[in-house]
Every structure is written in C-alpha cells, then in structure tokens.
Assembly symmetry: C3
Homo-oligomer: 261 residues x 3
C-alpha cells in the first residue's frame, strides 16, 4: 500500500515517469515520456494529468484503484496503445492485480479486441514481469480445471445466437460457443466479474456500442454494481476519450434502468 | 503447397515465429514474438493459437487459404497493426497471393482505411519483397490499361451519391467518382471480387458497420459467395475481435437475405 | 508563403520525404518513407499522392491550407498514427499554425481522443519544435487568463447533460463541466472556431458519428462555414479513409440542413 501511495502521488512517475536504470526496456516496451518532454510541448497537459488524473480520478470512491487499473489496461490494449502499457502494468501490480490476472486479461482481450492487440501487449508485460521476478509459477496454466458452467443459461444463449446467425456465419456461432463460453469464460484465473469488467471496458474504449448491452448485463449479473459501472464510464473518458464515454453513456443508462432493482 | 503446409503446421512460426537470420527486419518491420515470449506472459494464448487458429480456422472449408490471407492482411492494415504484418505478408505469398496483388491491396486500403495505414504497411512489404527477391518487374505499374467500366451502373451510382451529398461535400462526391470508381476500382492488378473482399474485410475489421451493406452487395455481385461471406465474419472474429464480428453479423445477414437467390 | 509553396510542390517531401540530416529523429518520431521505398511496393500509391493529394486536395478552395493542416493533425492524432506526424507538424508550421496552437491541439485531443493519443504525439512535436528552435516562450502557459464564458449557454448544457446522465455516471458529468467546458474550452491559445475544427475532425476521423451533431453545430456557432464543413469531410476521406467520410456525410448534411440560414 505504501508503494501504491508513493506511485499515485509521484507526479513524475505518473505523467510519464523515469524508468529505473535496471528496467531497461526491451523491444515493444518503450519507456514513457519524461515530464520535461511533455512540458516542452504541452505544459497544460502535464498540469491536467497532475490535477485531474492522479489528483482526483484515481482517488474517487465508487471504483477501487485495482478496478481502475483493470479498466485502464483493457482500454490501452483494446486501443493498441503500447507506449504507456509498461507504466500501467506496474501500477496494476501495485494496485493488487495479480500476475495471473494480467495474463488472463491479455488472453481474454485477444478474443474481445483482436489477436494482434493481445500479441502487442506481450513485450511490455514480459518486461514488467521480468523486472519484478515474476516467473512461470505465478502464471495460469494453458489448460486446467474450469469454473462450473450454468448449462441452462449457456444453452439458451447458444440457441438464441444459433437461430440468429447459424445459417449466415456458422463458424462464428461455433467458435463463440466452443472457444468463448465453454472455455475462455470458464478459466479460473480471472473472476467472472473481473472478466466482465475487462470486456465492458474494452467495448467502451473501442467504441463497440452495439455490444455493450449484452456484456454490461452479464457484468452486473456477475456482480458489477451500478455505481461501479458509472465510474467506469467516467474513468474511460480520460483513457479512451470523451466521445467514447458519451457514446456509451446512453447504453449504460438504458441497461441500468431496465434491470430489476 | 508443401511450403504452405509446413507453415500452417509449424506452430513456432505461426504464433510468433523466429525470423530467419537472412530476413533482418528493417525499420517498421519488427520481427514477431517468439513462442517463449508469449509463454512468459500468457501460456493460454499460445495454446489457443495452436488449437484454434492454425489447428482449425485456417483449414476450414468455405474460404480458401488464399482468401483468408487477403482477409487477414486487410484487417491488419485497416487496424494499423504492423507488428504481425511481416509474417502474414509471407504467409499470403505462400498461399498464392501474388506480389502485384499485395501491392494493389495496400494501394486500395489507402483509400478505404486512411492514407497513413497504407504508408505504414510499406516497410514490412518492402522487407518481405526484398527477402524473396521480388523486384519492380512483379509490381503493377502506376498507371496503365483499365478494366472495362459498366457506364450505366456507375452513372446510376454517381447520380445517387451526387443527389445525396453533392451540395454538402462536393469534394467527397467528386473524388469518389474520379479517383475511386473511374480509376482505383478499374486497376487490373486485383480482380474486382478480390478488391471487394479487401474492402468488406477492412470495413468489418474497422467497425465501419454503416458501409458494409453497399460493399457486401458489390462483393457478391463481383462473385463472393454466401458461404465465403459468412466465413469472412468468423475469420475476422479472431483477427479483429469478437465485437466487430458480432456487429457485422446482422448486416451480413440482412444483405444475404434480401438478395435474390 | 514561398516555403509553403515549395513544400506543397515538392513531391519527394510530400509523399514521405527525406528528413534533413540536422533533424535526426528522436524516439517516437520516426522519419517518413522515402519515395523509392513506396515505389518498391506500390508505385500507384505514389502516383495518387502526387496527383490527388498535393496536386489537388491541398490546393482546393473552400478550406485554407492552414485549416487543412489542423484537420490533418487532428486525424493523425485521433487515429494514433505517429509515423507521419513529424512531416505534417512541419507542414502545419509552414502553413501558419502557430507553435502555441499545436500545443493546444495536442492538449485538446487528450480529452477528445484519449490521453495516450496525446502523449504519443509529444515526441514528434518535441522533435519538430527543437529542429526549429521553438522554445518554451512560444508555448501557452499551463494556466492563465481564460476566454469569457457564456454562462447561460453553459448552464443550459450542464443542466441537460446532468438530467440525462447525472444519476448514471456522475463523474463523467462533473468532469465534463469542470475540466472541459469551464477550463479546456476557455484556454485562449486556440480560437474556439479552431478548437471546434479540431474536435469535429477528430470525431469524423475516429468514426465517432454519434457525437458529430453537437460539435458540428458548436463549430458552426463558432464560425465554421458550410463550405468549410463540406471540405473537411472530403479532406478526411484521404486521411481517415472513405468509410469514415461517408459515415459522417449524412450527419453533416442533417446538421447543415437543420440550421437557420
């Protein structure tokens, strides 16, 4: 916790941050900007980061720093923004996201944001893991025991999607069942609520408005609260831009208002 | 064909792949990840690639390996994902896509995904062409004889778009006629059916749902089959993410159901 | 003006351009492609750039070269395309965009395209500023006097958004008021009309169709003309791809037709 506090209040780290000499970046894991580089172009940008990002946003109640880290990682990977990944991967570990969870987040996003997005996150994660001596023993296995499946709900989902699209794109329908809902979502290394948080964050960050309704309902079924959902939108305004936040807001409102209290 | 088989079954190549020493990458054409790098972060990601990508997706009937290569290149360029381009450019050549066709695909996507996306694909293509001794004699000329134009259909299209947008954005209307439909689409280096396949794949991969209807109809007029269209959606689920596939699916369904059998 | 003319007509510069030896790129500010590199892959791409981009688009009446530079920078930053940024930052300065305005454009886009997009533009801007001896004295201060605020209009906007989303995502509503409309938009370093031009260009370039109506109306309230709006769409067809232009066109048409003459 002391490390988290030190990180959150250290502006030079937050706005770009010197990388310690022993964390020499490897390919694909570029160091972030130094404060003086930002000031040499946009002094206001540094001020806003200090005042609103680390000075306010990350301290807001309603969404824990751990959840904010998960949301931020999902946004960066969904938007293929690798430059800031090393810093936010380190912050995620400081905020209590486990290495195994980071591994699962990257694997999950291969399916929900595109294979190359996940691959492009590997070098930064490898570098951060190396610098903290995180080895294979802390990673989830490629295969293993699964979480229990709600067969009735999954059958209902598969039937509905099959009726809609089974004649049009049988491969999509088949992979959705076999790979996503009977495999990926049952991996125990990331709690279903967190897996849903990753998914919803990636959808909002990539402007995938049409897919938010299903996954936000699933997220709230999995335990995400109304307040947390609203904070995710406000958090992503900074990390994915105001337009994505405002395009998501009406859908989030509609989902929340239609759910039974 | 032997080379294709060797490539498809060689997991280490497929999931990241060692680059042969004589293919030293140039600027903008970074080597892909090695298998041990992926395993150091996400062992499951490597398993899924082996099991579902090269073990299943690329072998499915309904869309040829050559077409899958075209779809994949369009998705990567549309999404500005250059890291995996060298591998997939090589695979495309192995799968029978000609150098001249790759040249046309990149030029075509300058217009359909943004100029910088095409420019960013140049270094990787140059490197792959160099490593295979593909010279200027195998590339299409900057200008030359054109495919025949269906003047009646083009006049109808131009009139419709002109009535819609001619008063609002005359430059868009004019360039669409002069550059796209009376020039780019008539270049003989890429068959109209393949040019349409590139266009539809780029639209789905970039989430440009509103533009799919026109171009999928054009693609099917140009010879793309129903089955192929459905396989394109399933293929792009992996390379552009499930949300893009599921946002495209209802539009693809609507187009297919409204076309005369 | 002589420098602008020289730049616009120098094809080798425009299509990729040799970087002068004294402009050695720093990290994140890669040099653009040389003409022979483009020709080694796609000879037609070079021809189209010469014929339609510098030969026609940038010379069209209806939108000044300065405005076209602002639109292009907004598109590149919104789409996180850093490779061509150094060239277009230099062209913007040649076209009369002031260093302080470039600084404000980058800061503005942190909020309207995502924080990392702005951060990723810093290295290229720093390099271009350095190479032209542009120092801190030419940059806007982090804080300072603000433009006057239309309190009635802002109160109306805040009330409307608060009623819509205040219960759902209070953080988004609060930051929108405090950071955007009572701070960022009042910074004097970029005229409101230009700030709106940046915003609308970024929205179109990133496919944020749902947010265009509000901001295009605001842009026209701030002085953007009908003709300029139409030229922005045509310009962005090249820099953000035809699909984004055609998805924006109906919205632009609707906004223009509904406004009082």
């Amino acid at each position: 916790m002391r490390r988290l506090a030190a990180t959150l209040f250290s502006f030079s780290l937050f706005a770009g941050g010197a990388i310690a000499a022993d964390q020499a970046p490897t390919q694909g894991a570029n160091p972030m900007l130094k404060s003086e580089e930002i000031r040499a172009v946009a002094p206001a940008l540094e001020k806003y980061a200090q005042q609103f990002l680390q000075g306010d946003l990350w301290k807001r109640a309603g969404l824990s720093p751990r959840d904010r880290s998960i949301v931020t990682l999902a946004a960066l990977i969904a938007r293929n923004q690798t430059v800031e990944l090393p810093f936010y991967l380190g912050l995620a570990l400081d905020n209590g996201v486990k290495p195994a969870e980071i591994s699962e987040i990257i694997t999950h996003l291969a399916f929900y944001t595109g294979w190359a997005n996940a691959m492009n996150a590997i070098p930064a994660a490898k570098n951060v893991f190396n610098s903290r001596n995180i080895g294979a023993d802390q990673l989830p296995p490629a295969s293993g025991p699964q979480l229990p499946l709600d067969e009735a709900a999954e059958k209902q989902r598969a039937t509905r999607v099959g009726e809609q699209f089974g004649q049009i794109t049988p491969s999509l329908v088949q992979y959705t069942t076999d790979v996503l809902f009977r495999d990926l979502w049952l991996r125990p290394g990331l709690a279903p609520r967190d897996r849903s948080l990753v998914t919803v964050s990636a959808l909002i960050a990539a402007g995938q408005v049409a897919q938010i309704t299903y996954h936000l309902n699933r997220a709230m079924d999995n335990g995400l609260t109304r307040e947390e959902a609203g904070e995710v939108v406000g958090h992503l305004a900074f990390y994915a831009g105001w337009p994505n936040a405002f395009s998501a807001a009406p859908v989030v409102k509609d989902v929340i208002e239609k759910r039974p209290r």
